[in-house]
Symmetry: C2
Subunit: 289 residues, 2 copies
């Protein structure tokens, strides 16, 4: 059975483990703080790879940032990681094949193969965390667009330049549906600039916090309606830490009332916390064929 | 060379002609008012088909309404045409093969094969008319979604239920970017409920009308930004009567400044007024292979 050394690269943490072609984690999960500099990140990759590459058939990176259609490197900038990171020459980190894919795309693929959207040919995954990640599966294939950057959930929720988004533009879905978005919505509704998402969740039975969460969830609903009308998908998968705080059944029911396309499901991700590494490993092993 | 009898079915008019596998119109274009009843529409189809079917290899319908993935019939309701129209048994209208596709999808395909997005693998077409039609080409194939209904440009432009959309929901792109949307925007800005799109266009140098057109165009821009971030396309094609009134170069420049994906073009459709019939014929002839 084929095996991959899976490495998940985020702005804060880097994880690695070994995963087989069934998507099973078959080694310890090692966790590292993401180093500050490009040189240190590269050195950490080299250390991990030299330790495990003999045991595996392929090295599989699930990384922050958009990844090109050759699965060899990063397109453009990637936010909160060393600014030279996009120049990383992944292919030369090992003598074994190296495969790179965006982390949200990997997670969507893991859901498609072993998780909540298994058996469904068309799905869109929204990862609701500090930001919002997107992964699109169309006709049982990962959809990447002309250069590999597709699936960015930066479509507008309003057009009056109300709320700045991390992307530099205004009023993107990410700026409303994310954890950061929930905090901003809470600030606007409570007029308290110091309120945290924790405050909202801890006090979720208080009427004002209820209103905050309903407003936030309604923005997620509106985004889901748009995606369902554009894609006519089998399902929309919600993952990420913030997905704990939405009412999946409500979203499915309400969205299906509004769409002009055909009925679809809204489901919670089920491939677990390491779905990024699992998806990267499954894609990498498939790329060997 | 293979030929198709192409029939374009809209809520107001029905057109027919003969088109060859190069997308060339090789007969007169006949025009009919769309009959009121299902029986009359069916009778008109039978008349057109019996007159021309011997001359062609396939019958190609470009129709209003979403069309299933078997290209044999209509999904759900279709707005301003006889309500039984979706029950039409297209396949049994002729002994020759019959192929059916949504008109906006057909027009997008014509642009892809012989028009403005020729040679580009990834494109999204927006038809700006009384409403907004959408057609999506991904990896050189027409994208239809799980049941065939994809490409509905009903994603939200705001979330405060400000403007009713024809789909029954609120604040869809169609309700802002269409000709009807321009009229609504003009009503809101001028406080004149009787203003028409004609009044706006005729007086487009007056400051208030300039503001109306800029607001309308900005809504189109915001929609284009979202689609480019979702799809990472080669281009977005604008077609339809209202596309005459947008500044294509401005839209391309401004959208490319805002996106987080990779640079893309905004182009005006060039396959002409009968692109629906041309696309239907090209798809129908291809389906014979």
């Amino acid at each position: 059975m084929k095996k991959a050394l899976a490495i998940d690269v985020g702005g804060t943490k880097i994880y690695n483990t070994i995963i087989n072609e069934n998507g099973e984690i078959i080694a310890e999960i090692e966790k590292h703080s993401t180093p500050k500099t490009f040189a240190e990140i590269k050195y950490l990759f080299e250390e991990i790879i030299s330790k495990y590459e003999k045991e595996v058939d392929v090295i599989a990176f699930a990384t922050c940032g958009a990844v090109n259609n050759q699965n060899s490197g990063i397109l453009g900038s990637t936010g909160n990681i060393a600014k030279e990171y996009p120049t990383m020459d992944f292919k030369n980190l090992s003598k074994k094949p190296v495969f790179v894919e965006n982390d949200a795309n990997c997670a969507a693929w893991a859901e498609h193969v072993i998780g909540a959207s298994k058996g469904m040919a068309y799905s869109v995954m929204l990862t609701l965390g500090t930001g919002v990640g997107g992964g699109i599966i169309l006709d049982n294939k990962l959809y990447k667009g002309k250069n590999g950057a597709a699936g960015e959930m930066h479509f507008k929720m309003r057009t009056d330049k109300h709320r700045k988004c991390t992307c530099g533009s205004f009023d993107c879905f990410e700026a409303y549906a994310s954890g950061t978005g929930l905090k901003k919505t809470a600030e606007e509704i409570t007029s308290n600039p110091d309120i945290t998402t924790y405050d909202v969740i801890e006090n979720k039975d208080r009427p004002i916090m209820k209103k905050v969460l309903e407003t936030w969830q309604n923005d997620i609903l509106e985004g889901i309606i748009g995606l369902a009308n554009i894609f006519d998908p089998d399902c929309i998968v919600l993952s990420g830490s913030m997905a704990e705080f939405v009412d999946i059944e409500y979203l499915e029911y309400e969205a299906n009332k509004e769409i002009v396309t055909t009925p679809f499901k809204v489901v919670k991700a089920s491939a677990g916390n390491y779905s990024g590494m699992i998806g990267a490993a499954l894609l990498a092993i498939e790329s060997l064929k």
